[in-house]
Point group: C2
Chain length 137, copies 2
DNA sequence: AATAAGTTTGTAATCATTACAAATATAAAA
DNA sequence: TTTTATATTTGTAATGATTACAAACTTATT
């Protein structure tokens, strides 16, 4: 599936900027910040505005074509993979890793907990990643 | 357990400000922001500085006497209850509710997932809370 | 009391994010 | 095609939570 198909699937009309941003999310599974998306694309789209990146990412999230991760208290990150999975933040190198979702699978279908209407589930781990642990020695 | 005991238990030397802030966290399970803590205490401690509130909450978190919640992308919230439990954010009224932890209990003891050293687990739900759903009708 | 160490305070910066209005592009109507 | 309306993008300026920093203050130690 390409970026255009992905956008239309979520009811988002494609444009040069939207395709580029969605394309970046699809090919870079690094959970980038808005600023990282902007920096990566502003060479190929010289007129690109940072406001557009913010607005477009918000549009994706509102239409459930992307996830907004609040795992880091400093920066909001975005994830083009909207399937249910967990995230791990290394507080040493700042990288965010994907992990399989470890909550009860029965809750994957947006349960109704204590009367609340659940729309999103986020599962975050924090610590020191394998790579940083190896460097330690 | 009172605030002083709690502080010393976590190796934090008590002070007027620290006792007041820890006391507030212990008696108000509302997951307050730094600003809310400041506003609540600045009457009883007129000289209190917002910087102190920020520094002190950070001190608590560093010493694991409190949790920092990043469930909301706008505001960092704090929780004096450091036991393993989940949180639910209502995106209509902004309130944060406690929920029982629904991940695998076996992971409660800080597992070693894919070689990473896990130090914290956060489980966030988002949606519309029971109270807001009732008002809707 | 004098000195050192730890804590608090106020002000000024930082910096990610948003508000807003002008400019541009796309679609629809004439 | 031209005109008109609608949608999208852009740049600049503001917002606001958080932090840096150095002075003031408090507590502990010599």
């Amino acid at each position: 599936m390409n970026a255009v198909e992905r956008l239309t699937e979520y009811g988002i009309k494609p444009s040069v900027q939207r395709m580029a941003i969605m394309g970046y999310l699809m090919t870079h599974r690094t959970h980038p910040t808005a600023d990282e998306v902007y920096s990566a694309l502003c060479d190929s789209i010289p007129t690109l505005s940072k406001t557009t990146v913010y607005n477009t990412l918000k549009l994706f999230v509102d239409n459930r074509a992307a996830l907004m991760l609040t795992i880091d208290d400093k920066l909001v990150r975005f994830d083009g993979d909207t399937s249910l999975h967990s995230h791990f933040l290394c507080h040493r190198c700042g990288k965010v890793y994907d992990l399989p979702y470890s909550g009860k699978k029965s809750e994957a279908r947006m349960p109704n907990l204590e009367g609340h209407n659940i729309e999103e589930i986020h599962h975050y781990y924090k610590g020191v990643c394998r790579e940083c642990l190896e460097k330690e020695v």
